[in-house]
Amino acid sequence: EEFTVGAELPLTGTLARVGSGMQEGVMVAAEVFNKTNGKHKIKIVTIDDESAPAKAVAAVEKLASQGAVAITGGYGSNNISPASDAANKLGLVYITSGGVDDSLVNSGRKNFFRINNTAGYEKAVQGLLADMGVKSVSIVFSTKEATSDLANSVQKVLATKGVKAVTHSFDPAITDFKPIINKIKLQDKSEAILMVGYENDYVGILRAARVLKPPVKAMIGVWSLATPKMASEFPDLMPNVYGTALLPFPAHFDTADGKAFAEAYKALYKKEPDYLGQFGYVQSMLLFEAIARAADKGTVKKGGVAEELRKTDRDTLIGRVQFGANGDNPNFVHRMGQHQGKNIVIVWPKETATGSMVYPGLPW
Amino acid sequence: MLELNNLSVRFGGLTAVNAVTLTVGTHDVVGLVGPNGAGKTTLFNAISGLVRPTGGTIRFDRQDVIRTPIYRRARLGIGRTFQIPQPMHELTVRENLVVAQRFGTGRIDDDKIDEILEFTSLADKAHRDAATELALTELKALEVAKALATTPRLLLLDEVLAGLETSGKRRFMGMLKEMHERFGVGIVIIEHDIETINSLCQRVVVLNFGQLIADGTPDAVFNDPEVIRSYTGAAHA
């Protein structure tokens, strides 16, 4: 039996970059699923939501009218929120990894699932800092929603642990970070800098830090920093920088699932998989499997997909995934990686570490 | 009706109007003459509120109007024309007058507008676009028509006759005289044609380098040696 799954993703506009990254994961998941699952087939229909809420809603509605049985995708909580509402109204499952805002899971959407959340990032960052034994941190974060949420909660946790954390929020439009770094250098005198932003922000901050050379011992960031792409594109900026990472690089996939993913990804896109693809893959794969199970029971059209998803308990590329009543994945804990030479080494948590961290360690 | 006291206007280092003291009565027709760049237009601008004087006072009907905004001075009864005509863009000739009348007087009187159009020979151009479809002299006529539509009590005319040929001038002067008598409008008119001034005005004032250098009957003023030297170049009366 063939099922249509809708992918509502930003392929143009401000979120185009992350949206297309996630889309790659979705496509790979379909490819792998169709190859391995003999019984059912998944057909992906993608609609670009143009990074805009109203269009995300329309996209979900259009996907529904084209017979989609569930939606995977979504980026940015402001797009996910109305889009998942629309899906909810239409009785469709909506699964994502693109929004970490807690209000997404706290407002009673019955068919909403997500595999990652702020708490998972926060644990990882804080665990790394604890391993380093850092006593003072300067947190530089973008005033966007996801980033400020994460930064603020990390600051709170650190405060309870007796770590001094100074925050510097910056407007996303900012391009010159030297004045901020200079404040850290001359006023904060922290031991580490934590960057909570996006790729362009990291590049700006690291550049400014490389010029001003503040006396810190580590530069730490969150998503999209500890990636092979960053290592190859900014060889001067990345050495010894920390960031959340699902996998080391070069990636060695131990699990069958991981191998299948990596092979299919390379075959389709001729490049190394990145974290966006992995998240997209995991969320979609879980969805497809739930659809398959529901199909076997004949409950796809009767809310069976959500029911099956709720039963999920499985080790994935991002660790063990289960869904709580609100659709959130309580097990989610990110890992921290570090750029070491051309490689990315997982340095936290101890259990999954592939090497030891270079600390103190800076790009300059 | 209009009293200027020590009025001055400076642009940067240039004093365009220099301590001018002048009174215009309700029934006066005053000619304002002087060399190019003497400050005549600037004086009008100050009276109607388009430039802020750097010193002195302006009273209209005994009331200090120096801080009164332009539009309110218009409603008080100060009407003016622009030396370089400024029709209201995007409107027809007739609409120009409607706006002037409606906002200058608060009322609409179609007959009056027809009368003014007739008066200024614009009746057959009433539906032309004022900004793009008129010749220079027609634009000047429109300037007068607009000012008239606001039913002013003091009319400041800036070279409205320039560019008119002799008979047109004569007709226009007749119109001004009639206006003066019929509506009791006080007039200050800037004009370089001395014959026109002679036949229109009982009183002439002369500006030179922003200063008032003569004030009197046309006869007296145009025979003043200083006026002859700086302005006319020859005796005219």
Partner: protein, 233 residues
């Protein structure tokens, strides 16, 4: 030198000139007079290509001029002095004058011509660095005149140069016109001051309602008669 043959022109739907034919002889001053709205300015603009000619022919020394873009008129040694409103308001007085000598063949003479222009209108020297847009009406008129003379044109087309000028300056203006004529320039002059225009002219055309109503040599013109006939409406 300049010849118009059955020229029609106007603004879009409004036709203004109706089959106008006239001639301006080399080295002579031809004046065009006529009541307001007769189409004099339109005629001059049509010659310069600023108003499209819909019928007829304009010739310069026998060569067809219709359709020549305005900016190529300078190549033919033609300059027009428009009304004072047409100065470059956002440029200084001196830059305005310099623009008058924009054509390649005149650029090297700029310094000397500037000096001549200031000589002619000392007021402009005083206002050298002022923006032309802030000049008084008369000053702008002088500037337009001086700018037109910067290119030392062979054929000079002038629209109401005395407009808004003080009597003293008007006298000077007509002296300048005399001098230009004596210097062998061909001039087409539109002027409202008919008396003085006819006095300097060699030939007079009278326009009325877009048509040439009369063509006479200046010496034959009886002004009073003309006024009674054509101007009174």
């Amino acid at each position: 030198m300049l010849e118009l043959d059955q020229v029609r022109a106007g603004y879009g739907a409004i036709n203004v000139l109706w089959d106008v034919s006239l001639k301006a002889e080399a080295g002579k001053l031809t004046t065009i007079i006529g009541p307001n709205g007769a189409g004099k300015t339109t005629l001059l603009r049509a010659i310069m290509g600023l108003v499209p000619v819909t019928a007829g022919e304009i010739r310069l020394n026998g060569e067809r001029l219709n359709g020549t873009p305005t900016w190529e008129m300078a190549d033919h040694g033609i300059a027009m002095i428009p009304e004072g409103r047409m100065v470059f308001r956002d440029m200084s007085v001196e830059e305005n004058l310099i623009m008058g000598a924009f054509h390649k063949s005149h650029r090297q003479h700029v310094k000397r011509r500037l000096e001549e222009a200031y000589e002619m209108f000392p007021r402009l020297r005083e206002r050298r660095t002022q923006l032309a847009g802030s000049l008084s009406g008369g000053e702008a008129q002088m500037l337009a005149m001086a700018r037109g003379l910067m290119s030392d044109p062979r054929l000079l087309i002038i629209d109401e140069p005395s407009l808004g000028l003080a009597p003293l300056i008007v006298n000077e203006l007509f002296e300048i016109l005399e001098r230009l004529k004596a210097g062998g320039r061909t001039i087409v002059l539109v002027e409202q001051n008919t008396e003085r225009a006819v006095a300097v002219a060699d030939h007079v055309y009278l326009m009325q309602s877009g048509r040439v109503a009369l063509s006479q040599s200046a010496s034959e013109v009886q002004l009073q008669h003309l006024h009674d006939l054509y101007f009174a409406r």
